[in-house]
């Protein structure tokens, strides 16, 4: 899932700027599940913003709305009437949702209220961890299911480096060394041969380095009338 964290209140206030009528748009999918941008968070933020601007002596009219999924046209369409009433929209969706709104409502000023942080999962209640970097060419099979692109601080494919100590990465005492995990996993599965084998240089062109990506599935495209 996509994991995010709400921006600090002060920053959101600055992004609202001179806007008088503000709409806070929550999203009911990923950011709701990580308690950053769902219904409750949208309500709380709206109250906090209203109060804070009032205290500043610059009251604004701020209300909230929920969108089930801000990344899909069919779910953002119903916002059309509401959106035109507002100067500024603070989207609590991930960056994808913000951009979807912008594309659908090009005459509205839309700002992000969230920092989209990573692709990850809830390891336990209240703790989310990064797991995937969307590199475009999944190599989990050669590392026994632990991703070195997302979880090794140096993205090594022939790790570990010399900074691994007691299973901890040199960068932070709270950070696990991904290659220790790979070693433990492959040892357990009797597949250390995979770690001894040389991994050649990665093709980063299918990752973000190659430019923003697009997938076109010809088998799923809507056919025009003439093609039936």
């Amino acid at each position: 899932m996509i994991v995010g964290e709400q921006k600090p209140l002060q920053e959101i206030k600055e992004l609202i700027g001179d806007g008088k009528k503000v709409l806070v748009a929550g999203c009911g999918t990923c950011v709701a599940v990580c308690f950053a941008g769902g219904e409750r968070e949208a309500e709380i933020l709206t109250s906090a913003l209203n109060l804070s601007f009032q205290v500043d002596g610059q009251p604004k009219d701020i209300e909230e709305i929920m969108v089930q999924r801000q990344c899909e046209w069919e779910y953002v369409e119903p916002l059309a009437d509401k959106i035109v009433e507002h100067d500024v929209v603070v989207s609590l969706a991930c960056g994808i949702g913000v951009q979807t709104l912008v594309e659908r409502f090009p005459d509205t000023w839309i700002v992000p209220g969230l920092n989209t942080t990573f692709l990850g999962m809830p390891q336990e209640q209240g703790i989310w961890v990064e797991r995937c970097q969307a590199c475009g060419n999944c190599i989990l099979a050669v590392t026994g299911g632990i991703c070195p692109v997302a979880r090794c601080s140096k993205q090594l494919l022939n790790g570990p480096c010399g900074g691994s100590q007691n299973g901890i990465c040199e960068v932070d005492p709270d950070m696990e060394c991904a290659w220790q995990l790979v070693y433990d996993r492959l040892s357990r599965m009797g597949r250390l041969d995979l770690m001894v084998a040389f991994q050649p240089a990665k093709d980063w062109s299918v990752s973000r380095d190659g430019g923003p990506r697009k997938i076109v599935r010809k088998d799923l495209l809507m056919l025009g009338e003439a093609e039936y």
Binding site: K154, P160, G162, G163, S164, E170, V171, D184, Q199, A201
Partner: protein, 327 residues
């Protein structure tokens, strides 16, 4: 990997190792500035005291004059450089371009490193690169040298860069059991020589070398043992407690403390000299020990910010003068 008797690079370091000498390498850190005088001075302190000197590459992710540029200045002072290149700061394009220039400028030894994470240094907000890891870098340089091709497979039309290729090894990092396998991987990827991380725990290093010999790796690569003088008890403690991948047994901290115990605190110079002397004494004992370990082809003396230490240690350990090498 080919096991040729011919020289791959023609560097002094390579010639001495292949002739069977116990080599001595030193290290110098370039300045945090754009002037050449500091390097020249450091090079002069190392001249004649070691067979070649490593020139660090933005070590601990603190920006310094580049290794290759500093290498040129060293060469001018008559010291053979071992260029260091990390994978943190350059992608494969920049690496190939810089190393071709390094070759053209006379450099012939290259140490391929991953690089300390930029969060350790003074530019923690930078984007790190890690297009390649250190093994992939070695593989690339072997193919440039021996197959005369770029990383993309295109033929090198002009002269190919010919480096004596090195890698680092950390016998003390985890997973401890995997380290000899990682050394084997580095050899397979193209390492001609290895320099280890600083050794203080001799027992653990002996255990590592035992496993290295079991795997026959000592016959496939030249292993230089990393050593360095402790300068103060504080430094010993710091390295024991705060440096990742470093294993410093308590006895070293105790010896350093003991060296200054009988000297009053106000006599700062006397205390400093006593500490330094003890640090040198410990290093010299270590060298004597290391010369007895089968598979150790030399020592790599890291005397950080005290380059004179290399000469002092080499002399006390009976390693001077350094041998002459044939054409």
């Amino acid at each position: 990997m080919s096991e040729t008797n011919g020289l791959k690079s023609g560097s002094r370091l390579e010639k001495l190792l292949r002739a069977g000498h116990f080599v001595v390498t030193g290290e110098l850190g370039p300045p945090q500035g754009a002037g050449g005088d500091e390097i020249r001075e450091k090079a002069r302190l190392l001249k004649g005291k070691c067979d070649a000197a490593n020139i660090t590459d933005n070590q601990t992710a603190i920006v310094r004059m580049s290794s290759i540029g500093s290498g040129v200045l060293c060469l001018q002072e008559g010291v053979e450089p071992i260029i260091q290149m990390t994978c943190r700061d350059r992608n494969r394009l920049a690496m190939q371009a810089d190393l071709m220039a390094a070759h053209a400028l006379g450099m012939r030894n290259l140490l391929c490193l991953t690089g300390d994470h930029q969060s350790f240094g003074n530019h923690p907000t930078a984007k790190n690169v890690h297009d390649l890891d250190s093994l992939q870098l070695m593989d690339m340089m072997v193919k440039m040298r021996d197959d005369k091709v770029f990383a993309c497979g295109d033929a090198i039309k002009g002269e190919e860069p010919r480096f004596f290729i090195g890698a680092a090894a950390n016998p003390f990092a985890d997973p401890f059991d995997f380290r000899p396998y990682r050394l084997a991987k580095k050899i397979a990827a193209g390492a001609d020589f290895i320099q280890t991380q600083l050794i203080y725990n001799m027992e653990k290093f002996e255990e590592y070398m035992r496993r290295v010999r079991e795997m026959g790796l000592h016959e496939k690569v030249f292993i230089l043992a990393g050593i360095g003088p402790l300068k103060t008890p504080g430094m010993a403690r710091y390295m024991r407690d705060k440096v990742p991948g470093m294993d410093v047994p308590d006895v070293h901290v105790e010896r350093m403390l003991a060296a200054g115990r009988d000297i009053p605190k106000e006599e700062k110079k006397a205390r400093r000299d006593a500490y330094r002397a003890e640090g040198v004494a410990i290093t010299v004992e270590q060298i004597e020990h290391l010369r007895q370990i089968e598979g150790v082809a030399g020592v790599h003396i890291m005397s950080i910010e005290w380059e004179e230490g290399v000469g002092i240690i080499a002399e006390r350990a009976g390693l001077l003068p350094r041998p002459e090498v044939g054409a």
